[in-house]
Symmetry: C2
Subunit: 186 residues, 2 copies
């Protein structure tokens, strides 16, 4: 697996407040930065996530149009999910690909890691390419709050969605798509 660039920790002086919701925890921390400055920052602690760019044997890209409460809109995203405790990214992704998109993949490649929100979240997303797809006869049950439509797009259709502004762009999905295009030399 591609390693992350080296870590350069700040010094945590004090956590002045914290709140937890589902799998994320928001903290206000007084820290000392490597440049020596002491400052308070708000930060989300997140268990990490994985994402897959699924491509069918016909070359169609599998995307989800998903309702997102935070932005109060439906947006195009690749199947992805937050890691459960002690769960390996690839195992999590295999589960999510079934639950969200209704597929099993027999060929997996790693596309690296990305940070969706380095300004205020420690979340790291592990990106995979999922090929040799088999559609599941019965889609396993996912989270009860998911509101998802599965789309199958050609590369041209996806690129048109991205360039037109008709669909809101999601950072993790575009990053993974860029990496998939590099990997597949598209």
């Amino acid at each position: 697996m591609t390693p992350l660039p080296p870590s350069e920790p700040s010094i945590l002086l004090e956590t002045t407040a914290a709140l937890e919701a589902q799998k994320i925890r928001f903290e206000i921390n007084r820290i000392k930065l490597p440049i020596g400055l002491e400052k308070k920052f708000g930060v989300i602690h997140h268990p990490g996530a994985s994402l897959a760019v699924p491509i069918t044997n016909d070359g169609l890209i599998v995307l989800l149009r998903q309702y997102r409460y935070a932005i109060e809109r439906r947006i195009l995203e690749f199947p992805a999910g937050t890691l459960e405790k002690d769960e390996e990214p690839i195992e999590s992704m295999k589960r999510e690909l079934g639950e969200e998109a209704g597929y099993k993949a027999n060929k997996w490649d790693l596309l690296g890691q990305m940070s969706p929100c380095p300004g205020y979240s420690d979340e790291i997303i592990h990106m995979f390419l999922a090929r040799d797809l088999i559609e599941l006869i019965e889609k396993p049950t996912g989270d009860d709050d998911e509101d998802i439509e599965v789309l199958h797009l050609t590369k041209n259709e996806l690129d048109k969605y991205i360039s037109s502004g008709d669909e809101l762009l999601d950072g993790k999905s575009l990053t993974a798509w860029y990496r998939a295009c590099q990997f597949l030399k598209l």
Copy 2:
């Protein structure tokens, strides 16, 4: 300006807890989703941000290697900044391009909008292409906590950084770079 896809609000039933840090506010909200389900979600309220892909007249791409406390690493990012109260995205970006990268741009194009973290943040980032760059003789003072190195890369160098995994990928920067490549037909 490219419009966002239509909004589809959830019903806010109750905010059970909230914390503020600098420009962001974390809330735990009990809401009713469009599918009818009631659930508690943690969400970051963010004033929005802007980002620029600056390209010199020699075709070099201007990037920052910036220390990020949340992920305790230096990562490659395009110049970007959080909007001040009532600030227009383009005006914010002109200021940040000077403070972070030391440039003024005479040619601006809009590359659309993106969501860095639709699962738990309402942040929307306005993306611009900044060309016809003039290097400022004196770099204006930015935020006191910034720890930034300015890089000038060719497209090949940037693509190698992205594919190698030697630098951590940042969602907003890769999304903007994808859009810039589309816009410039690179």
